[in-house]
């Protein structure tokens, strides 16, 4: 009889423990476990992709890219006529102070807006070959690889860019399935005045709720932006 008496509380304790563990298990897993679908695999499972951080990001600009000065003329093929940099610069003396402390070129490049810190033009442009650029240690750099210049100084942005959290991209997140193209630095930042330009926002909301709020904001002419409660 005594044995049976012990069995009951023992069974209760065991059941409580199991029940509690099940409950806790549910709590840990949260909602995820309940909602798994029957998975029918289409195509191959995602293989681990190449380390994106260390992958060579294909430059948006093709190799051999060369900027030219626009003349506004059109040749008989219908292409715009551009002048290569060396055409003029072959006969010019390099001015190492150009660009520093606001010194702008006296002639040509008049529409250039320059706002890139304290550097001179020749910090990046190559005085020995104006159809190329130069790295900080003087090595020649092709225009197609221009973003290496940016990467020299802008480390955090470079790190973010290489890890996909800075700079636009198109294509596939899963690089085993397809390619991805990236914008380069100069696609968004003008190298001479790299501060990101202002955009006009598009696609203003026109749902009833947004319009109602807009009407109310316009009505209250103190359109302060701090609405403390």
């Amino acid at each position: 009889m005594k044995g049976r008496l012990i069995l009951l509380p023992l069974a209760s304790v065991v059941l409580l423990a199991l029940g509690g563990q099940w409950l806790l298990g549910e709590a840990k897993l949260g909602g995820a476990r309940e909602f798994s679908a029957e998975v029918v695999s289409v195509g191959q499972p995602a293989k681990p992709t190449k380390p994106a951080a260390r992958a060579e990001v294909p430059p948006h600009r093709p190799a051999g890219y060369q900027p030219k000065v626009a003349t506004g003329l059109i040749d008989h093929h219908g292409n715009a006529v551009g002048v290569a940099c060396m055409t003029c610069h072959a006969t010019k003396t390099p001015n190492l102070e150009a660009g520093r402390e606001g010194r702008v070129p006296a002639e040509f490049h008049q529409k250039l807006v320059y706002a890139h810190g304290e550097q001179s033009c020749l910090s990046c442009h190559n005085s020995e070959d104006y159809d190329a650029l130069r790295l900080a240690d003087g090595r020649k750099l092709a225009f197609a690889d221009a973003q290496k210049l940016c990467q020299q100084c802008h480390g955090p942005q470079t790190r973010d860019y290489l890890h996909g959290s800075h700079g636009g991209m198109r294509g596939y997140w899963d690089k085993t399935k397809g390619e991805r193209t990236r914008l380069t630095c100069t696609d968004c930042h003008d190298a001479h005045a790299p501060a990101y330009p202002a955009w006009t926002p598009v696609f203003a909301p026109k749902d009833g709720g947004a319009l109602q709020q807009k009407a109310r904001e316009e009505k209250s002419n103190h359109s302060t932006t701090t609405h403390d409660q």
């Binding site: 992709t49 991209m169 997140w173």
Partner: protein, 318 residues
């Protein structure tokens, strides 16, 4: 013997039964009943219009998770045909299943987002949203620097962005790991799939909007009317659970463009972002960019205290 007529009102004496068996009262009652029936038919006339547009197959269709691949194929073919009849456009509706070993995560860089709303617009186009209302799954808030208080956010900004005192926060479905919208649905028309995306079966939803009340992020949208998209603007690459043309009276939401992402492509909002503020990938892949962001950036989620465990993360660079 107490008459059935109430004593307080003007009493009406019971009519003597004439030989024909029909009293004046009965005749009036019959006339009234006829008029009533006619009025009833007139009242419900709009329902017959509405019923004409419904097919029996569609009405009896089973839940997505109970359809065999063959039946689902039949359903999708029927939908493609209906779209062709109604709009003249040849669309392709696919059933894109979750891939094993994939759980999607999305991160948004609040230092880089400029609030241009191109993501919202791309979503509008990609997902075949209703044009007149400008519907989109993404809502961009202009926030005050120095505060994360959503009450200080505005959606109606139109000056050039970014404003120096503001930062911009796009909000869309967070694909929560503990989604309140899934718990509350009475018919299981919405559920979380194994790759993390919370989906809706548009042909099963009854339109009660309980999920819309439950969502803490204003992520769910209801089709208050039949969505109108000009034929030329219809995106023909459609998914059954994502951007196919939705019917009236059902819920819908952001699906991380599953018709694209389950094929390895980037969602439309990310591709449209000119600054690259959006990061998307597989949370289960330790080498993915989203994992790098989670590890190296100080990320946070919205309304963490509500306990929904979102899969959408925000971060600043500095």
């Amino acid at each position: 013997m107490i008459n059935n007529t109430p004593p307080a009102g003007p009493a009406s004496a019971p009519e003597a039964e004439p030989a024909g068996g029909m009293t004046r009262r009965t005749a009036i009652k019959a006339l009234g009943a006829t008029l009533g029936a006619a009025a009833f038919a007139q009242a419900i006339a709009p329902l017959t219009e509405w019923a004409e547009n419904m097919s029996l197959d569609e009405y009896l269709q089973k839940h997505y998770r109970e359809l065999s691949p063959f039946d689902l194929g039949v359903v999708m073919a029927r939908m493609e045909q209906i779209t062709k009849e109604e709009t003249g456009v040849d669309v392709h509706i696919g059933d894109y299943r979750p891939q094993p070993g994939v759980k999607f995560g999305y991160a948004l860089n609040l230092s880089v987002c400029v609030g241009c709303r191109r993501c919202a617009k791309a979503c509008h186009i990609e997902n075949n949203h209703d044009r007149p209302s400008g519907n989109s799954y993404i809502r961009v808030l202009e926030m005050e620097k120095g505060s994360l208080d959503l009450a200080k956010g505005r959606v109606n900004y139109d000056k050039p962005v970014p404003h120096p005192d503001k930062f911009y926060m796009p909000v869309q479905c967070q694909q929560c790991d503990k989604p309140p919208c899934v718990s509350v649905c009475p018919v299981e028309a919405t559920w979380k799939e194994s790759d993390g995306i919370v989906v809706v079966d548009y042909n099963w939803c009854i339109g009660c909007r309980y999920c819309e009340a439950a969502c803490p992020y204003h992520a769910r949208r209801f089709n208050w009317t039949k969505p109108q998209v000009p034929a030329a603007e219809i995106n023909p690459d459609q998914g059954y659970l994502s951007n196919r043309l939705r019917p009236q009276g059902v819920m819908e939401k952001c699906t991380f463009c599953l018709h694209r992402s389950r094929q390895g492509k980037l969602p439309a909002c990310l591709e449209a972002c000119p600054t690259g503020a959006r990061v998307f990938g597989n949370l289960l892949d330790p080498e993915s960019e989203i994992r790098w962001v989670l590890k190296n950036k100080r990320v946070f989620v919205l309304k963490e205290e509500v306990g929904t465990q979102p899969s959408f993360f925000y971060f600043f660079d500095e």
